[in-house]
Subunit: 101 residues, 2 copies
């Protein structure tokens, strides 16, 4: 989202009291949602810890969000594998039924 | 991952030259993978921009990873909906076949 070479509109958002001009592939609403999520998580981590350094808070925020991303990747793979297995079972059952008719 | 109340082992990782003692629900390998991902993305953003403030770089890293998370959520929902639709179609076809026999 921060790559200056990426095409897309520029949206100005505020995170942890600082403004950022973000150029993203998504629409403005998507960029604002993502920025609000980061801001919310960073404030939550500040509330839950005694950390005051914005850089450390931001890195812990990035770590938390990356943890969610990795967990979701596993969840997506699980759903995809379940999907493949289930459709194979049903296709086999359907083909079996058709050949028996 | 940073919530001090969360149960789990503590793993010390280095991100952008600073050490962080992380307590996470996952195993050590998972925590190290997530930390390496954040470190890699933060260095990449530093290389691609003229930003020098670690706090701004970390927030842009968090924004990038949150953008990936939102994109993956949509992708997971799409797969899940496709899964439901496909299994419904196949179940209907199977039931139809069985009632015709």
């Amino acid at each position: 989202m921060s790559d200056p070479k990426t095409q897309g509109q520029i949206v100005t958002v505020t995170i942890f009291g600082q403004e950022y001009s973000i150029r993203g592939k998504g629409d403005e609403e998507h960029i604002r949602q993502v920025a609000a999520y980061v801001d919310e998580r960073m404030n939550l981590i500040q509330d839950q810890t005694s950390i005051t350094s914005p850089a450390r808070l931001a890195i812990l925020t990035a770590l938390n969000i990356a943890d969610e991303l990795y967990t979701l990747r596993r969840e997506k793979d699980r759903i995809f594998n379940e999907f493949e297995e289930k459709t194979r079972e049903l296709s086999d059952a359907l083909n079996q039924g058709m050949s028996e008719v």
